[in-house]
């Protein structure tokens, strides 16, 4: 660690290292993350991500809420992938209870999880270029988001916090004709997605800002426990949907998008490719849903108690691996529900990624790590 001096005291031509705090409030950080940087001129010498400004004690609150109320809380820590977060909680509870979920619900859940993944990725595909100066992709990304959000709102009533999962299945059956409209929306997004692709993916200015910037090696990614698109861009070929299938992923062929360069552009590229993949998966699931008949949930007692024991469920959330360690002592609330969130692990890699880069690259790297601060701080 180099010597740290407060700016302005250095005399003459002696240059002193400057400590610069980025955040807790900064437009490029999607929330309140603080980075403590030590700068030597324009170059960053060290970077320490300081988390916790948005800590809401979600895990502690889980211990005082019943399993339905937990879903409300769980879909809020990562507000961009609410459906996937709900899913992790209910999968853990269902596993502990040994509950069999109706097949129609399983396929519907898979379809909705993939649609939520598309929504999450589109958000970052719009906001990442915005952070490094390109406003336009945001409009295209939001046009697509709106199309899919309309479909999700029709089924669940919510645009962000769906509250559509329940222990044992889904809240209720989807409206008549919904699968057709969902497929139409998927088709429309797939047709228009090349706009976003053409607009930014090979844009020279974007390439200049992102190619070769913030290279994360596969070893570092694995060392920090990074997962999801961030790790796959570094060549870490890990996707729970293929490697440890849950829901209906076991009967689907999940193509895993990977890149090897591990730079900012590779991370963006993975995200964009994954949108195409997720749209295909969602469509396959919807076709399957149309062939299945029956209920979408299991009748359960009013007061739901998970039997004594513990279980660990993990899911491939849009941002990476989310883990749920559920310990129950047979009460109607969990004794402990530990969250392992993707953003928390991914953001730790910033400590090796940022030192050595220039201040302008800092934003490019920060934006490309695709995290939600609520997901870091819980």
């Amino acid at each position: 660690m180099s010597r740290e001096v407060v700016v302005g005291t250095g005399a003459g031509l002696d240059t002193a290292d400057m400590v610069l705090n980025i955040g807790p409030q900064h437009p490029s950080t999607h929330g309140v993350l603080r980075l403590r940087l030590v700068l030597d001129g324009e170059r960053v010498i060290s970077c320490e991500p300081i988390v916790g400004y948005m800590h809401r004690g979600a895990e502690k609150l889980f211990e005082a809420r019943d399993y339905r109320q937990i879903i409300v809380l769980a879909n809020r820590h990562d507000w961009l992938s609410a459906f996937n977060n709900e899913l992790g909680v209910v999968l853990a509870v269902e596993r502990l209870m040994g509950l069999e979920v109706p097949e129609r619900a399983v396929w519907l859940r898979t379809a909705l999880a993939e649609l939520n993944r598309v929504l999450n990725h589109l958000m970052f595909l719009g906001s990442y270029p915005l952070e490094i100066g390109a406003i336009t992709p945001m409009f295209y990304a939001f046009r697509e988001r709106e199309t899919i959000q309309a479909v999700l709102e029709e089924a669940s009533g919510g645009r962000m916090h769906y509250m559509f999962n329940r222990v044992g299945g889904l809240k209720e059956e989807v409206p008549a004709g919904w699968t057709t409209r969902a497929r139409a929306a998927i088709g429309e997004v797939r047709r228009r997605l090349p706009d976003l692709d053409n607009l930014i993916r090979r844009n020279e200015i974007f390439l200049a800002r992102t190619v070769g910037v913030g290279v994360l090696s596969a070893a570092d990614a694995a060392g920090y426990g990074a997962s999801g698109p961030v790790a796959r861009a570094s060549g870490l070929d890990l996707d729970l949907r293929r490697d440890e299938p849950y829901l209906a992923y076991g009967s689907l062929d999940v193509p895993v998008v990977t890149r090897t360069t591990g730079d900012c552009h590779a991370r963006f590229d993975v995200l964009l490719e994954q949108v195409y993949v997720s749209l295909d998966l969602a469509e396959q699931c919807l076709h399957q849903v149309d062939t299945l008949q029956g209920p979408v949930n299991v009748r359960l007692p009013k007061v739901l108690k998970a039997p004594e024991g513990h279980t660990y469920a993990w899911t491939e959330n849009p941002l990476g691996i989310n883990g749920y360690y559920l310990v129950s002592r047979g009460d109607k609330t969990p004794w402990r529900l530990k969250l392992r969130t993707a953003s928390y692990a991914n953001v730790q890699a910033l400590a090796t990624l940022i030192p050595g880069c220039l201040v302008p690259d800092l934003i490019a790297i920060l934006g490309s790590m695709f995290f939600v601060v609520g997901d870091i701080d819980k």
Binding site: R65, D66, R68, Q69, I71, V72, L73, R76, R104, T136, Y140, R143, E146, A150, E153, E154, A155, S156, G157, G158, H161, M163, K171, E172, E173, V174, P175, A176, G177, W178, T179, D195, N198, L199, I200, R201, R202, N203, E204, I205, F206, L207, V289, D290, L292, Q293, G294, P295, V296
Partner: protein, 170 residues
């Protein structure tokens, strides 16, 4: 890299030009109201007559934003030997500044006294005005849309099944 310099930029501009010739997707909100689906969770409506003051909604609310108060009244039922006790609702407030719009209260209500309405234009200048009392919650009832029909592959709504049963019985 691209074959000639600026190809990426040109492709981007082509997208812009193509989009320029198309109709705008933006809808000018206050002038054009959005089409919201019937399940949209905008505001909670209360059908006061159906409420039996069982307090389930207030207890199940994850952040306790429902305030209920009541008193007991004696009702003389003709033909009955003794007077019956009945709960009368005095206060039913939902604090929408706390509400997380999860819908648990509506789901747990055993007497169908609560409904979602897609209505959302109730912003206030003062946060205290977001506390809707039972009159205001009752006013939302007329904006409650009929629920959408369920997918024919799935199970019908439990209200439909119940209605069919009563029809068969009657």
């Amino acid at each position: 890299m691209s074959e000639f310099p600026g190809k990426g930029l040109a492709k981007g501009l082509a997208v812009t030009l193509k989009t320029m010739t198309k109709r705008s997707t933006t809808r000018q909100y206050p002038d054009t109201p959005p089409d919201l689906p019937p399940r949209s969770r905008g505001v909670i409506a209360l059908v006061e007559e159906n409420c039996t003051v069982c307090m389930l909604c207030a207890r199940e609310c994850p952040d306790w934003c429902i305030y209920i108060d009541s008193h007991k009244e004696e009702v003389q039922v003709p033909g009955a030997a003794r007077a019956r006790q009945r709960n009368v609702l005095d206060q039913f407030d939902i604090d929408f500044s706390l509400c997380m719009y999860c819908g648990i209260c509506i789901e747990v209500c055993p007497f169908d006294a609560l409904y979602w309405s897609p209505e959302f234009e109730y912003a206030e200048y003062d946060i205290r005005d977001l506390l809707h009392d039972k009159e205001r919650l009752g006013d939302w009832v007329e904006t409650v849309p009929p629920p959408p029909a369920h997918d024919t592959n799935g199970e019908p709504a439990k209200e439909e099944t119940a209605a069919r049963k009563t029809q068969l019985a009657g």
